[in-house]
Subunit: 475 residues, 2 copies
Amino acid sequence: MFRQDVSILVGVTILCLLGMSTGTNYQYQIKFLDVPLDHFSYVNDSLTFKLRYLINDTYDPTGSGPILFYTGNEGDIELFAQNTGFMWEIAPKLKASLVFAEHRFYGKTLPFGNASYESPKHLGYLSSEQALADFAHLLTEINPIVPGRRNRPVIAFGGSYGGMLAAWIRMKYPHLVNGAIAASAPIRQFYTDCGIFNQILTTVFKTAYKEECASNIARSWDALRNYSSTAEGLKTLQDKFKFCNNVTKAEDITGTFFDYMNDVYGNLAMINYPYNSTFLAPVPAYPVREFCGRLAQNYTGLELINHLQDALSIYTNYTGTTKCLNIASAYDSKMGDQGWNFQSCTEMYMPMCAKGPGKDMFPKQPWDDKKYSDNCFKQFGVRPRNKAALAIYGGQYLDDASNIVFSNGLMDPWSGGGVLRSNNPSITVILIPEGAHHIDLRAANEKDPGSVIASRQIHLQNIQKWIKQHSKRRV
Amino acid sequence: MFRQDVSILVGVTILCLLGMSTGTNYQYQIKFLDVPLDHFSYVNDSLTFKLRYLINDTYDPTGSGPILFYTGNEGDIELFAQNTGFMWEIAPKLKASLVFAEHRFYGKTLPFGNASYESPKHLGYLSSEQALADFAHLLTEINPIVPGRRNRPVIAFGGSYGGMLAAWIRMKYPHLVNGAIAASAPIRQFYTDCGIFNQILTTVFKTAYKEECASNIARSWDALRNYSSTAEGLKTLQDKFKFCNNVTKAEDITGTFFDYMNDVYGNLAMINYPYNSTFLAPVPAYPVREFCGRLAQNYTGLELINHLQDALSIYTNYTGTTKCLNIASAYDSKMGDQGWNFQSCTEMYMPMCAKGPGKDMFPKQPWDDKKYSDNCFKQFGVRPRNKAALAIYGGQYLDDASNIVFSNGLMDPWSGGGVLRSNNPSITVILIPEGAHHIDLRAANEKDPGSVIASRQIHLQNIQKWIKQHSKRRV
């Protein structure tokens, strides 16, 4: 999921979700279904578009088994299909079909083709409610409810924003979805401390190797700022970091590079998996620990810059083949950052801030609601509806929800907005102490810690329970 | 609620809900709240409109008691406030505030003022999902969720389409609504036998007094048709019925008058209350019995016409002051028939048919989907989305719903689409054998049968249980 950061709305901070799997290549058919552009109004009643979805039913020879349904999030659905190995691994056991549905306005599901991102007249149809209704529409097509005949049980899956959608589709369409595995789904991020993300991120860097790591990072901002204030200093930084585009003014460092580093820290924490992975850039197992191993003593001045550059290469040049450092974006082109920016400017309003020295490892940066709103209006012609998501989805108030597993890696900065406890016996909370961003949805790996293995067992037990529950219901 | 009838889409059949109370005049403040025109898309992000709602908090001196919330349906909200005496009667006991929220595009809640019914560019924003989101928005304003502080419990109430909305707001927004009393809410009408309404209606007329009543009605259509086929016959009918506009051609009878009679039969059954009431026209207690008392033997020919006219006067001229018979409409102007027609042409798709002689008391009239759709397109520029309501709300599939009471009078023709049984312990079903359309929501009357009195007690017990449940929840 992408992080909102008031200072950097336009060149937005993105904190992404799924590591590319290494080597696995799952197979599926690609299909399209016509769905209404607007499920809730009829001003342009006849407009439809083609929703892309991926389907594999080779494990379900009778065509009557459960449907494992990935609620696609802000990116190309094939990326999610390839990176949700857990679904592929349990499908044979459950004799289940697999369906991965693409979220409107991402990947190849572009309602207005190349003109889809004209805002707000086209992009205005991008919303989580419309996307959920697309998924519901798809489910009624592939798994119709016919009185007297039992339809197939459906289990929703998703990670990050996809996990929010998985939880919400179960909450809003329980007649179509029997249960949901919502991994690293920050559905509470709408009503939480704006600094929690950076606070957890700081803890991750503090505890990965030695505490000095986080304090070096905390000091690095001023050091970089100092270097950026003179032509000589800029040259030093250029020589050290080998930026692809020469840095020529202070803002190239305090703006672009700071934003980039923010993203890198977030990404490193999210993909802090116990094995090599190749998202955005190839990284080693436990990349935060590797990173912090190079910042293990207190440094200052040029020494700090040197060590920071060395540590950064874990993320930017682990293969040793990178020629120069491109700080324009830290994200894969398959992720839809522009679409997510729009969603953040409407209902997915999740303020982020940094509390500064002593509280986290970032420069102090309060949330500025007015500035954010004005930027949204300038960029998209819309303003955030601050309370909309809470009104519509209820945030943390889950007393009446059922059949949802919320899993969170506690070393994932998004866990601050996750569901970490529940009094509701029908909501299962899984905490993965050493887990990063929805590692439990990834394919099994021999390096997985016991907590991740256990979480997948709990997922499967719940799924089997929900399927059994479905089989006992009146048709 | 208004009935869809394929043959008469344009001059539509309406089967309405609430009898006007006699004499009671409940007091409230009238307020307006700005709400977004479109809760789910952002093409016209800045557009808002004024949602009207009525509030009375005189029974809740601390301002912290429960909120009894009427989810307004297709008409002026004041009509519903005045005719839902049950809410007013329990408010003092519960120390509760009363809120009646008007449905967009009805009453005085017209998003585009006088231009609101320009279809589809304005009227296209009329939908049940948008209306529910309006209510949710209103609830978050008057009863905000603030972590650490307990908000007030909210109980939704509604009759007919309002009852559907009450059930649905509990299902879709359980974090905002603790429970719902859904009276005569045909949420299953989307997936049911198209003939069930007329079948029940026939039973009502068969059993109200003597079976001959229904068989006379069944024969009357041919008799009327015969008279309408000659100028002389038309003159006879004109003399008998004293139509305000002279009937001059067969279609005036077989079109307009047949439609009117259809409506009258439905209305009589719905308002078949055990006491005088004054909806549409003043009627005596048990008006169907009175009507049938005048058709108690088998008649044919002119004698049948005479007795039919005499019986009809129960509905059209009970006061004896009606000068002529206006068959243009059988409904009160406060009901929004045009808005409901639009809703019926989009998502509130409830096919109706008559199976004809031997099966019900109406001429055979199959449902013609294409004709209906074409009429919708001609009138509104939209076509029905046949499966939309079922996909979005789930019809009868309530396994995962909770805290809803569904009450149905079995002598109400809408009960065929109601929830009449449930395996879900958290869904209460109340059957009122002799009940008409949501009589249980009306003010207590000394003529109320025991089943109605008992149903109100069950409502209250459930409401008290839900309020107690709320008080025990984590804030």
